[in-house]
Assembly symmetry: C2
Homo-oligomer: 152 residues x 2
DNA sequence: AAGTTAATTAATAATCATTATAGTATATTT
DNA sequence: AAATATACTATAATGATTATTAATTAACTT
């Protein structure tokens, strides 16, 4: 597997950012890492680990699930991703975005985003109020989605 | 085990509420259920399932873990509790309370509560804005706590 | 107070997301 | 282009949670 690490001009802004951050911290830039990150950026549905695995496997048939887990932890560690723990102990991932709320169904695990000026202001205000540094640009709130509510 | 179900005057407000809700939905009022709920109300540390099991077992030595899981799911279903999925896929539980934020350390799983007038107003406002019915009176936000941050 | 129904217990096994291990491959440095 | 440190892969292990029994116990109804 050949990666032209010295010429990153063909990559997207986000991927370039990842490459720089990996280099900066002494981690290696591998095609698996880039592909996993790109897939999460492209997928707006807050994919699960397994979904990411399935999708990236199409491009790299030998990809192992362990690598996906390892990469997701690494990217979370360097704060490019946040892990969302939903129902059934299944993790989902999302990249940093504009301030929003993740409304998480406790039954099926579906996540819907909600944005508003109020949310944005509140998050900014909160970051000022709190001494503790927060991760990401979102907070989470629980619901039972319409679909699940109908089914009882 | 004798429970004077017709005289609930000696119970706390919260326990009375539980008893009423169980009756209303046709579930039986058992001392285990009351004890588990009371323990969660008394423990402000958002206990894990195993911690609840350990503590309530002191009062009911024959208590089984299965009962604890079953009861917690039941109380969550009737919306007296919310399940918090933290790190390592371990569930913690908390009762409905005044509006607050659970600031959850993604490393060690520790949860610290945060309350303010802003939080309260925002949550009220949010419930008006959203069509979806929310569970509980809190939302969750991620951090790495001071202790973990120091340890790297 | 007896009958009915549901809950609890116990012991075990199954599930399934996640983590650990160890050998092989590859990115990066020189 | 070789050296070396890290990453990747495959497999096995872990561990919280669920499921399955079946027997016992206890709550609730009339």
């Amino acid at each position: 597997m050949i990666l032209l690490t010295r010429n990153i001009t063909s990559y997207s802004m986000d991927t370039k950012k990842l490459i720089e951050m990996l280099r900066e911290k002494g981690f290696k830039v591998t095609p698996q890492r880039l592909a996993i990150y790109e897939k999460i950026l492209a997928n707006k549905e807050h994919p699960t680990v397994d979904q990411i695995y399935q999708e990236v496997q199409k491009k790299f048939p030998t990809l192992s699930l362990t690598t996906v887990y390892h990469t997701l932890h690494l990217l979370t560690k360097i704060e490019l991703l946040q892990e969302l723990r939903c129902n059934n102990g299944v993790s989902r991932y999302e990249p940093d975005k504009t301030p929003h709320i993740n409304i998480i169904c406790q039954n099926c695990g579906a996540i819907s985003d909600y944005q508003s000026k109020n949310v944005e202001n509140f998050l900014l205000q909160l970051k000022k109020e709190l001494k503790t540094k927060l991760l990401g640009n979102h907070f989470e709130i629980q619901t039972i989605c319409e679909k699940c509510r109908k089914q009882g």
